[in-house]
Amino acid sequence: MKLHRNCEGNHPDVLSALSRRDFMHIGMIGTLGLSLPNMLRLKALEMPKVESFNAMADSVIHIYLPGGMAQHESWDPKPFASPDYRGPYTPIKTSIPGEYVGEKFVNIAKIMNKLTVVRSMTHGEAAHERGTHNMFTGYRPSPAIKFPSYGSVISHEQGSRNNLPPYVVVPSQSIPEQGTGYMSSAFGPFALGSDPADKGFAVRDLLAPKDVTTQRFERRRSMLAAVDEHFRATEKSDAIGAMDSFQQAAYGLVSSAKAREAFDLSKESDKLRDEYGRNTAGQRFLLARRLVEAGVRMVSVTFGGWDHHSNIKGAFDGQAPQFDQAFARLITDLQDRGMLKRTLVLVSSEFGRTPKINGTNGRDHWPRVFSVAMAGGGVKEGYIHGASDALGGEPDRDAVGPEDLAKTMYRVLGINAEKRIMSEGGRPIDIVNGGRVMTDWLA
């Protein structure tokens, strides 16, 4: 039987099914440590127990480069291939002897000995949204079910810390795959709603309006408590309870200068902001660092557009230096602050690009082999996993799939991806189906 394009058939077994209704109750708990009257329904969650892991990292910064960044120009150059494969650049040496990166990765070359680079990522999805799905969920897209993003699973499993939302997208949820899939939207990302690189950047609604002083805010709050009291006391529902908790969380954010400061880039020194780069990449990555520092568990940052079907040189010349500077500074900044050990930084893209330069001096979609880079959070320093072949067209050895990457990322956070979560329709679904924890990558 030929495999159907949409169906791996890797459905989990269907025996320990629960009703969606139970799931909905449970679904509300967790994001912000809610306590609900129907907590007893939790006992309904009699999923098979899985082994628990110790966390190696507390948070993840997932830098996503939409469009599909070419492996040749970035993490996996082919200095010895003929020019129509090698591409427009001359690869440069890195701090790992014998390993090269693309010409524009000047700063990254220096910190290469802090990274784990996987040069043998592979999957079979050459369309943007399908590849993106793979890289945000660890699952191939399915017609029957929407899978939750890494961040939503982390929200579901670990909840919030320090009055901060557990999952933040920078700058906003531009990719549907960053969403909650089959889970309740209570596990969805908190979106900044504006770009850290903008002048006068401020997160929407985080601050009380200008004419509302602290004293006035307190007055509002106490009046709200007074007029809300009757309804709160007489009406019981999970949604009211959840909204109550979000309101408390909002108060927490608005009134905790510390929590709010996590979103305030102006608290960073001008010098450091310059070193990250006064541009989209620099300011987004810097904000991501501030957020994890304050207690956000998952920051999903997108940067640039890497769908370089034509004139790959011009496009790379424009974006790659920003990324190079910001990413390298992020890693050294995390290290300087002693945060690198407990923060996993992951750089990925939906796929790579064709080994051969095309007729318009670009490269086209190529999921057969591409690269992913990681740093900190329990992964090795200065490690290259796998390799592509001489032309950068196929994995040469140690091929790795999106499910392996996802499973390892969860492992680092202390989440066992073999655990099952109940979806709509009472179907229990593995956090990641199959896949391996790549112990080779772990320090």
Binding site: L3, D13, S185, L207, M223, I240, A250, L253, E424
Partner: protein, 936 residues
């Protein structure tokens, strides 16, 4: 040798007492000891040490350690040997609470020595304390016995192999039921025709008729038993016997060998949908290894399943289980494929279908009977898969034993072959003091709801107040909050039927139509690709035309079935015939047919695209048969890039994913229509879809309407109708659907019935019995108001008009035609983007951004200032108290309470200089209250 000597000493000690009583031992003495001390383990359910002590034959056969009796030499008998072992010996019997008192040992020893007489036909049964108590408890309950039944209602035994499990079922006066199989006096009237083996009846004679008779508590029930060819054997069949073992043992589940790539090198078709392929893979791959015809026991198929060799799926069943025997026998007979035309399963049935369990941990056996195309039937309880949809209320184990938990209702799903059926279990607390309350019964809705609540012993909440009603009905019927004047007009109305009159007025307002246009626009996915620029479809112009067409049709109060027929059979250009835009919302034919099933029938058939639905009736044949109606959609471009012409191309077929054969058009859950080549298949489908011939259509629309008003569907979510997600109140849904059909699909009339019902007019205040219930309409559900209605309310209350793309200033969010047009507020509060047909597109789940936006965002702060509501009231010379009252009426639709008045007054008093600001802060507080954005 001390080990040998000790029992001897004990034996000698016992021997001393034996001399005292000389009379022969009566069997009843032995029976009392066996039943009290031994049968707890040596019974047919446990059979510890493989020794069964229920009948003489079984007992004499012995167990693992050989015969229990050897001649009359008591001290040689395993039975006595075990009794006299030292207390801490591993093998002593009974293992717990042993050894037996010397007198009892003596009785047994003497009984053995006297020849171990066991009167013919006497069957022993375990007697344990719990059971004795249960028996006593049952005896008390039996005084209220109402009905005694035997399931199944009749038994036909077709071969030597055939058997049927019997369940004796008691119904009491309080409507509770109980599984009394173990307590009833149960026998076959003529044991020369058929006989019992445990609780299963099997053939004895070759042919004949008899009865199974059960009596208990002075009542007797009997069912006919017919035996046909009871002496004939039948060969193990691959499809009928072997394949079901794979399903039952989960071999072919998606996580194991049913995965598309198989597991560990062995693949079976998912849930056994492809027996031909499975036969080939089993017998033609790894010849001699997977199936070893010479030594069946050494086939990996056997060894893996019984755990004799390492298996990633671990041990699945015992070597001596019926499952293994079936597989072994099939292999021993040559692992043959079935002859063509082997009987297929035509359906399954569960017994009993409705159970009402009292208290925690009550149990009930349910059995499953399958019928075959050759007219035979079989008991497949041991081959079916069981599943509960609500484990906390009632669980079901793999053998079909239901066990009660918390109060509530649950459905037990049994699956066999491609069929799924349910039995309903209701659990009520034990010893509940309950008297059926006198509850208002306005119409057929209340009849069905109240009956259900009575069965669940749930007392509904009281009727809501007029204040609550007017607010609720405004929000639900027209999507607006009542203005203070409208509020007081209703409150002052003295007519006894004023609630009905109010609904009548509201139904005539254009906002009622607009609300339903919006809801249908969501289902029909009316949206443009505006965010991607307007140079790619779907175009804004098309979305607008499509929306206007829909608004026009609904505005004319055209029955929904006619609109649906026009929509689904539309042909023409996307500009000139706007309804055809439906076919531009989804270009993938498979997805399109899934969408149609989901929107118009409430069914999700996606699963059946690749495999038979695991929890529902849909097979791949159903899927591709339905898909065939959409196989002949033709499209052509015109000079206008925004106009595509959709037409009947009269060519194209639906190909089955597995067999690659073309499947003929077949209505989903209906018949194959008689079609001539060139017929417009979509028209044929459309006319069936929106007609009484399709029972799901009216049910689905009725359920959609019901869910809008009650906050939860009778089937919920509304677009997930499946066997394993049954309606919480089937009678109610049937009634609603029947009425909608009778009303000629006029939604307005259904709304009238729903809003008039006591079920809709209940208060949201709970009582002890309904606090945990959400599915049976015992109280009003508190619901967050949906995004559009909430924004319109904010606009109305703060007197600040909205502006949306393509609409004049002051238009309402409900009126937005295009799903892609939105703003921060609407997106944050979960407006449907209309990107899919799923009911979950409309989100009312709370999130952090919503809380922040109401608190600090422009939706409340700016609008309070911009609308100058407080400022104008102050300018009009109103007093603080008047202003506060007016604000409460605007926002909450009620008068402020004293404490609330005082709290605002105190805040003004604390800062009299900024009176307006303090009052505006009070306004802010009201609009940040849950009472504002929840409908209750």
């Amino acid at each position: 040798m001390s080990f040998r000597r000790l029992p001897l000493l004990a034996f000698l000690a016992a021997g001393l007492t034996s001399a005292v009583s000389a009379a022969p031992v009566a069997f009843d003495e032995v029976r009392a000891i066996f039943e009290g001390k031994c049968l707890e383990c040596h019974n047919p359910d446990k059979t510890k040490g493989k020794l069964l002590m229920t009948t003489r034959e079984a007992f004499l056969k012995g167990g693992e350690s050989g015969h229990a009796l050897i001649g009359v030499a008591a001290e040689q008998s395993e039975l006595v040997k075990r009794l006299v072992l030292p207390k801490d010996h591993d093998d002593i019997m009974p293992p717990k609470g042993g050894p037996l008192p010397a007198a009892e040992i003596d009785v047994i020893r003497r009984w053995v020595a006297e020849g171990a007489a066991w009167p013919a036909g006497v069957v022993l049964a375990a007697k344990d304390k719990a059971k004795e108590e249960a028996k006593a408890e049952l005896a008390r309950k039996l005084t209220t016995l109402e009905k005694l039944e035997i399931f199944p209602e009749s038994v036909t035994l077709e071969t030597k192999r055939d058997f049927h499990r019997i369940v004796v079922f008691a119904t009491f006066k309080d409507a509770t039921t109980r599984d009394v199989t173990a307590y009833a006096d149960l026998k076959v009237a003529d044991d020369k025709v058929a006989a019992f083996d445990g609780y299963s009846v099997h053939a004895v004679a070759d042919a004949g008729k008899t009865e199974v008779v059960a009596s208990l508590g002075g009542r007797t029930a009997r069912i006919p038993v017919a035996v046909k060819e009871g002496h004939k054997d039948r060969a193990v069949s691959f499809r009928q016997d072997v394949m079901p073992v794979f399903l039952r043992a989960n071999c072919n589940s998606g996580g194991c060998h049913g995965a598309a790539r198989g597991k560990d090198g062995f693949r079976l078709s998912l849930f056994g949908m492809d027996p031909d392929g499975d036969y080939v893979r089993l017998t033609r791959e790894l010849i001699g290894r997977r199936i070893n015809l010479a030594i069946p026991e050494e086939s990996t198929l056997v060894e893996k399943a019984i755990g004799a060799v390492p298996h990633s799926g671990n041990k699945l069943y015992d070597a001596d289980s019926q499952y293994n025997k079936t597989i072994l026998e099939w292999i021993a007979n040559g692992a043959k494929d079935d002859a063509p035309g082997v009987a297929k399963v035509t359906g399954i049935e569960v017994f009993p279908k409705q159970i009402v369990l009292e208290g925690k941990d009550a149990t009930q056996q349910i059995t499953v009977r399958a019928t075959y195309s050759d007219g035979t039937d079989r008991d497949v309880t041991k081959l079916a898969l069981f599943m509960s949809n609500n484990d906390p209320v009632a669980k079901v184990d793999k053998d079909g034993v239901v066990r009660s938990g918390d109060r509530g209702a649950a459905f037990m799903l049994a699956r066999f072959d491609v069929f799924s059926v349910t039995a309903q279990a209701i659990v009520i607390p034990k010893g509940l003091v309950y008297e059926r309350p006198k509850v208002a019964e306005v119409n057929y809705i209340d009849k069905a709801v109240n009956e259900r609540l009575h069965r669940l012993r749930i007392v509904p909440s009281e009727t809501c107040t007029d204040e609550e009603f007017v607010r609720r009905v405004y929000i639900d019927v027209i999507g607006l909050y009542p203005k203070p004047a409208e509020l007081s007009a209703f409150l002052e109305d003295k007519r006894p039927d004023k609630r009905k009159q109010l609904v009548e007025t509201l139904l005539q307002r254009k906002e009622f139509t607009e609300l339903w246009v919006m809801k249908w626009a969501e289902l029909l996915q009316i949206r443009s690709g505006i965010n991607a620029g307007n140079n790619a479809p779907p175009f804004y112009k098309n979305a607008l035309l499509y929306y206007n067409w829909l608004a026009d049709e609904i505005g004319k109060n055209r029955p929904i079935n006619q609109i649906v027929v026009d929509l689904l059979s539309a042909n023409g250009g996307t500009v000139s015939v706007p309804a055809v835009n439906y076919y531009q919302s989804e270009l993938d034919r498979l997805k399109l047919s899934e969408n149609v099933a989901q929107v118009f029938m409430g069914m999700r058939i996606q699963c059946a695209q690749c495999h038979n639905h695991p929890f529902d009736r849909w097979t791949m044949n159903d899927y591709y048969g339905f898909n065939a109606f959409f196989a002949q959609i033709g499209r052509k471009n015109t000079d206008d890039p925004q106009e595509v012409i959709v037409f009947n191309s009269k060519g194209g077929e639906s190909q089955h994913f597995l067999t690659k054969k073309n499947v003929k058009p077949k209505f989903l859950g209906g018949e194959e229509p008689d079609l001539k080549p060139g017929d417009d298949r979509r028209r044929v489908m459309a006319e069936w879809m929106a007609s009484p011939r399709n029972p799901y259509f009216a049910r689905n629309i009725a359920n959609l309407v019901w869910a809008h008003f009650l906050g939860v569907g009778v089937v919920d979510p509304v677009d997930d109708v499946r066997v394993s997600n049954p309606p919480s109140n089937p009678e109610l849904l049937d009634e609603l659907a029947a009425k909608l059909t009778e009303y000629n699909y006029d939604v307005r009339r259904l709304v009238r019935d729903i809003t008039a019902s006591a079920a809709y007019q209940r208060s949201s205040k709970t009582n002890a019995s309904n606090a945990d219930d959400k599915l049976n309409f015992a109280r009003a559900q508190v619901r967050r108001v949906r995004a559009e209605v909430l924004l319109d309310a904010i606009s109305q209350i703060t007197e600040t008009p909205n502006k949306f793309q393509g609409l004049p200033l002051g238009a309402r969010a409900v009126q937005i035609a295009d799903g892609a047009v939105s703003n921060y507020f609407l997106t944050t509060f979960g407006r449907s983007k209309r990107e899919s047909v799923a009911s979950t597109e409309v989100k009312t789940d709370p999130n952090l951004s919503q809380a922040l936006h109401l608190m600090n965002g422009d939706a409340v702060n700016d609008r309070i200032r911009r609308g100058q509501v407080v400022e104008k009231m102050i300018a009009a010379g109103k007093k603080d108290d008047e202003i506060v009252t007016e604000l409460f009426l605007r926002v909450f639709g009620r008068q402020p309470r004293d404490a609330e008045r005082k709290s605002v007054a105190a805040a003004v008093a604390a800062d009299p200089a900024s009176r307006q600001i303090v009052l505006e802060d009070a306004f802010w507080a009201l609009m940040n209250s849950k009472e504002f954005y929840f409908n209750h």
